[in-house]
Symmetry: C2
């Protein structure tokens, strides 16, 4: 009996979370049933309500954990004294590593928004706001961010969207190009995204300055 249990190594509570993330990530929150989660996690259906007080609780925990990771990354990099370029490159690097390690968790946390419940919308907006504010704080220190608030609602989402672009498209990338997603690829990916980001921001600054000149 003990041998059987050791086949599915981790504890039931953790297995439920992982199964939920996996299924939410591939099919979407609403398309997944609790019985399907329970089956994959190898637990009884009622254990979901028992541990997470319902299906929704799984999603909350997924998002909570993702944001914990993000806060860790930004706090760590903020504490270091890096050059502007190094800071951005390192942020992108760490985000990519996180996304790669916990693709499904991150994807669910970022893209899943299956509710018209105002409380959930507010919850996600709050998380997004903290994302952006953290990024701004870190990047303002390094003078790489734009000091024009007008452009924040554009540059902010563009930043996140660019870094996550590969993961947002997910399995389709492999279908379209038939490439191997190994260490080398993700190393190149980080470098390319960082470069495009840095050059893009520089180009934007140039554009804004040019506009200012013309106004005078």
């Amino acid at each position: 009996m003990r041998d059987d249990q050791e086949v599915s190594a981790k504890e039931p509570k953790e297995r439920i979370l992982e199964a939920g993330a996996e299924l939410f990530g591939t099919k979407g929150y609403s398309a997944v049933g609790v019985r399907e989660i329970a089956e994959m996690a190898n637990v009884n259906v009622s254990m979901i309500s028992y541990y997470y007080s319902g299906k929704f609780g799984i999603l909350q925990e997924i998002i909570r954990r993702y944001f914990e990771n993000v806060r860790g990354i930004i706090a760590r990099i903020g504490s270091e004294r890096l050059s502007p370029e190094e800071a951005i490159r390192k942020i992108v690097n760490e985000f990519v590593a996180l996304m790669r390690d916990k693709t499904i968790f991150c994807k669910v946390a970022i893209t899943e928004m299956p509710f018209n419940l105002p409380e959930f919308a507010d919850f996600k907006a709050e998380i997004m706001k903290m994302h952006i504010e953290y990024l701004q704080q870190t990047l303002e220190i390094t003078n790489q961010w734009l000091s024009y608030p007008k452009y924040n609602p554009i540059v902010g989402p563009a930043f996140i969207s660019l870094v996550f672009s590969h993961f947002l498209f997910g399995p389709f990338i492999k279908k379209v190009w038939d490439i191997e997603l190994n260490d080398e690829f993700y190393s190149t990916y980080s470098k390319v995204i960082s470069t495009m980001l840095l050059a893009g921001l520089a180009g934007l600054r140039k554009m804004i300055n040019k506009e200012k000149m013309e106004q005078i």
Copy 2:
């Protein structure tokens, strides 16, 4: 009786499609029921199966129409003889206009993938491939694309992801920054994204050339 009918102007079939797009876009495909669609479209539930042979048929039609629009845009710009920079700026402009006009349709077509059915995954991969190939064709003509196939699986998704970044985050943008999404905003948005894209691609070319030099 005729007066009552004229309140909901368009034909039932079209109303179903619009209601479906609206609801799918805000809540996700699986989270929406046919009864809810029927209620919003002000038709009987069975009309959905009657006109679209089921709920899935609505989604298919949404995706079909979106892709029709995209093909139109790319074909039109490809036929014009534009400078490299103008071509990219115009593509971004038209994509933004399309997304703005039919936000829900586009969002559903791009992000919705609620199925593990292989046929549907293949269908979306095919669409994405055509997206990228069209873009490449247009941009190769203008010498703005990269001629290094190695980077296509990164730059392609980055391109799309960047252009659509604002719409992917959807209603959260308004919640986070409390801005008005009017003509002026979207004009700025197009310009900013184009600029970041052009500068980003230029920076990437520079990086690749530098790497080549170092190899020798």
